[in-house]
């Protein structure tokens, strides 16, 4: 192969990764319009606006920007979460909307960084899958991740959940590259990326334990030998994470530049002592410990397409088998009975161990009966890229077994057909679920109707207002007041600003006195619906927003007397 050809061949996979990311972001942008702004998005719009004020000051008057009064003034907003992603929201709004006018809606400019990071997650899943399992398997992994219905929903949002999944994945990928002979540059990159991960969301606290456990197990006997000798050689990437990570975290969050200890303590305390919310699970609303231990697993089973889970289980099963073989051969080598496992076996063992560690760590908080379950699947969403990577391994085994001894073209055709067969259902489910992402349940539990019958949560965050915006715009008289229920006021205002809702409609805090009342269904919120019944004198909603026939949001109109 000529040098030029080798060069272009080397570009193919990064180009494919980029294409996947771009296509995913394009799909997210195309489906953005009718996805209402969720409750927390409203808070982050507000925070991003505040941070944007600081960036403007930084661009205009850098010295003033670093004065404590200005830092505190702009960065106090939403200081219970770190700043990286919200800074991206702010900069995206500043440049892509206000300055360059790339987006028609202000809200889209806030959402764009989350979409872009979701695209990065899809691309890196592909690249990692490509390196370990092959090109088609990498594509299967990427599509499987992108088309998990709840991933697709969260990828649209001006929130931290997909960004933290992306940053976790990217950091782990860099770590893996660094320990797979990638050299010191990957190790430094791991440290820097970990700093950004720390500055994205507190899930980041769980990654170092996962990597340390991985290091200990993957290193095997060598680690214990070194420990006994009193000099353990930790991977450079781990050292970089410990040294560079906190520096990047600190530099990227102006709020902690002053009173660092006190403010960090408040940040940690907010999340370790997070209040309990209500969550419906199997027909019962949980609001305090003990929480059901099966919650995370059952919800994964009910919301991730079954074919993805099947491939994951096949991949995981093969991995466990391989892992046991490697361990046995290590033991046999020590007893002088067999040769040590080869480097390829060891590498794959290490890689899969890393993936498994990331999955288990992401689910680990739900081993405790005290962990609040208010956020549903988004709280272990960091596991999903690794689940998809195992699925890619499962795909390889299936493709290999099915294509058998065929010639090259036949093999390729069969592999492509298999890839389509295992991704078509996730694509249909994810696209079909839009814009009702949180109500999406897979056929394994009977789809959305099955989920409702089982008593699984259909909605939170009041995002489904976007699905009834057309009704309100058409039906409400001029200047009508609308009780917004679970939609944050900031989210409502953003919808009005973006022209999704008529600007003359007046949001109201209470159903009493309002002409229209929204009701976002969660069992514990039913009492709000009852308040509307008594006030309006009717139990009949004027409009019901449904997903596959299941009511998710309904709207009451005050009868004219």
């Amino acid at each position: 192969m000529s040098r030029a050809r080798r060069f272009f061949a080397g570009l193919l996979d990064p180009a494919l990764g980029l294409a996947l990311a771009v296509a995913y972001v394009a799909l997210l942008l195309a489906t953005n319009k009718d996805l209402g702004y969720a409750r927390d998005e409203g808070f982050y719009f507000q925070a991003a606006r505040s941070y944007e004020g600081w960036f403007s000051l930084l661009f205009d008057s850098p010295k003033a920007a670093f004065e404590r009064a200005n830092i505190d003034r702009f960065w106090v907003a939403n200081s219970e979460h770190p700043a990286f992603v919200k800074s991206l929201f702010a900069l995206s709004h500043h440049f892509l909307y206000a300055k360059w006018k790339l987006f028609a809606e202000e809200g889209t400019s806030f959402r764009f960084p989350g979409m872009a990071l979701s695209g990065v997650a899809v691309a890196v899943t592909y690249l990692w899958g490509r390196r370990v399992s092959g090109r088609v398997a990498g594509l299967v992994a990427a599509v499987s991740l992108a088309m998990m219905p709840q991933v697709f929903y969260h990828s649209h949002l001006d929130c931290f959940d997909m960004p933290v999944a992306a940053m976790w994945l990217v950091t782990t990928y860099a770590y893996w590259r660094s320990i797979s002979g990638g050299g010191w540059l990957w190790a430094i990159a791991t440290g820097v990326l970990y700093g950004f991960l720390l500055n994205t969301k507190h899930n980041s606290w769980l990654l170092p334990p996962a990597l340390i456990v991985h290091f200990v197990i993957a290193r095997g006997e060598g680690f214990w030998r070194e420990l006994r000798a009193g000099s353990v050689r930790a991977p450079l990437a781990l050292v970089a994470m410990a040294v560079i990570g906190p520096v990047v975290f600190y530099l990227g969050w102006p709020w902690i530049w002053h009173e660092t200890g006190k403010r960090l303590a408040a940040y940690v305390a907010f999340h370790t002592g997070h209040e309990y919310y209500n969550m419906e699970f199997l027909g019962r609303t949980y609001w305090k410990p003990p929480m059901p231990l099966g919650y995370a697993w059952v919800m994964t089973l009910a919301t991730v397409p079954a074919i993805t889970l099947l491939l994951f289980l096949i991949g995981l099963g093969a991995s466990v088998k391989r892992g046991l073989t490697v361990r046995l051969r290590w033991l046999a080598e020590r007893a002088g009975l067999a040769a040590a496992p080869g480097p390829l076996d060891r590498d794959l063992f290490s890689t899969e161990l890393l993936w498994l560690g990331c999955i288990l760590t992401s689910y680990a908080p739900w081993v405790s009966k005290g962990t609040p379950i208010f956020g549903g699947t988004k709280h272990w969403i960091t596991a999903y890229p690794f689940l998809a990577l195992f699925a890619a391994q499962g795909f390889v085994l299936a493709a290999r077994a099915l294509s058998g001894q065929r010639e090259r073209v036949g093999k390729a055709a069969l592999t492509a057909a298999l890839a389509v067969a295992v991704t078509v259902a996730p694509v249909a489910i994810a696209i079909g679920a839009h814009p009702w992402g949180l109500a999406a349940y897979t056929p394994l539990v009977g789809g959305a109707p099955g989920g409702a019958s089982l008593g699984l949560n259909r909605s939170f965050w009041g995002y489904s207002t976007g699905a009834v915006q057309g009704f309100l715009n058409e039906r409400a008289p001029p200047n009508a007041s609308v009780y917004v229920h679970d939609t944050a006021m900031q989210s409502w205002e953003q919808m009005a600003k973006d022209g999704r809702l008529r600007s003359d409609l007046r949001p109201a805090w209470s159903p009493a006195g309002a002409t229209f009342a929204l009701y976002h269904h969660e069992p514990h919120m039913l009492r709000v619906e009852y308040q509307v019944w008594v006030d309006y004198g009717t139990v009949a909603p004027a409009h019901v927003g449904t997903y596959d026939g299941v009511p998710v949001i309904w709207v009451y109109e005050r009868p004219q007397r």
Binding site: P511, R527, Q531, W533
Partner: protein, 303 residues
């Protein structure tokens, strides 16, 4: 093809089966327009006083949207239980059955589109002769805070506290001297069974003495049956709080006292009137040793 390879065929097959299952389940539940088309047949089937029940229960908002208040009035939707009804119409979608009608006898069944409409008969109905909730009005009731009368207002300011606040304080209510929270009027609270609705008389014991609600000329049955509770979302954690007592007097004689504990949820009580067939005054006296945050609400009837 080897058996092993055949087994691997299960992988693509699973993908295709999931796709088919997705399309099946996504079309399984009736849509809004199908519910709307149900209005006429249900109206034709339902006689006055019959209950309309929806299975599965999550489809209830669709039924209310389609059928309206005439076929699904608030008093039915927010009922305390089904014991008073002689007959019920069950709207069944996707083959589901209403658990509250288990044991009722099917006396009619019709298919309408993707629905089954069943007429069911209660094997042991307890018809109501007087529902106190329907009569919290000046032509039947008088209300006192201790000895001070609570005045009727047919156009009081309506307030509703949202998720963490008060249930709707209705426009029509007897307002007691101690302020906004102390009145007798009809509202709906959430109960301990996954926040189901209960239509009831708001009867927060006031600080100026027990709340006394007196109904005149009540046709009595053998029993006086009732339910009492507090909004579950607000009081689900208040174990051991001051109990609320509700004492019932018929013709000036006490027939029983029910003590409500928050953790019991919306709990039933039943007293023998000992005066079946007579028409007498009935008084409910609601009190608590400490009246702070005692958001008591009750439903009662004679049968």
């Amino acid at each position: 093809m080897s058996r092993r390879r055949l087994l691997w065929l299960a992988v693509p097959l699973a993908g295709v089966v999931e796709l088919g299952a997705y399309f099946y389940f996504s079309r399984r539940a009736p849509r809004v327009d199908e519910w709307t088309r149900l209005r006429e047949p249900v109206a034709a089937l339902r006689q006055a006083g019959e209950l309309v029940v929806v299975a599965p229960r999550w489809a209830d908002p669709l039924a209310r949207h389609a059928l309206g208040d005439a076929l699904m009035p608030l008093s039915d939707v927010a009922r305390s239980d089904e014991s008073r009804y002689v007959r019920a119409i069950e709207i069944s979608a996707m083959g589901d059955r209403a658990p509250e009608l288990v044991g009722w006898r099917t006396v009619g069944e019709q298919k309408h589109g993707r629905f089954t409409l069943r007429t069911l008969e209660n094997p042991a109905p307890e018809p109501v002769s007087f529902d106190f909730v329907d009569h919290v009005k000046p032509d039947h009731a008088t209300v006192f805070e201790g000895a001070a009368p609570c005045s009727w207002n047919a156009n009081a300011p309506v307030t509703a506290g949202g998720l963490g606040g008060n249930p709707t304080f209705p426009a029509e209510r007897f307002i007691c001297p101690s302020g906004d929270w102390f009145f007798a009027g009809i509202t709906v609270i959430d109960d301990h069974r996954e926040y189901r609705p209960r239509r009831c008389i708001w009867a927060h014991p006031p600080p100026g003495g027990p709340l006394r609600i007196r109904f005149e000329r009540v046709p009595l049955g053998k029993t006086l049956r009732g339910w009492g509770g507090m909004p579950w979302l607000l009081f689900r954690d208040s174990v051991g709080a001051t109990p609320v007592e509700i004492e019932v007097r018929v013709g000036g004689t006490s027939v029983g006292k029910h003590v409500h504990h928050d953790e019991d949820g919306f709990a039933p009580f039943r007293f023998d009137t000992g005066r079946a067939g007579e028409v007498l005054d009935v008084e409910f006296e609601i009190s608590a040793a400490n009246v702070k945050d005692r958001h008591f609400c009750f439903q009662a009837d004679t049968r």
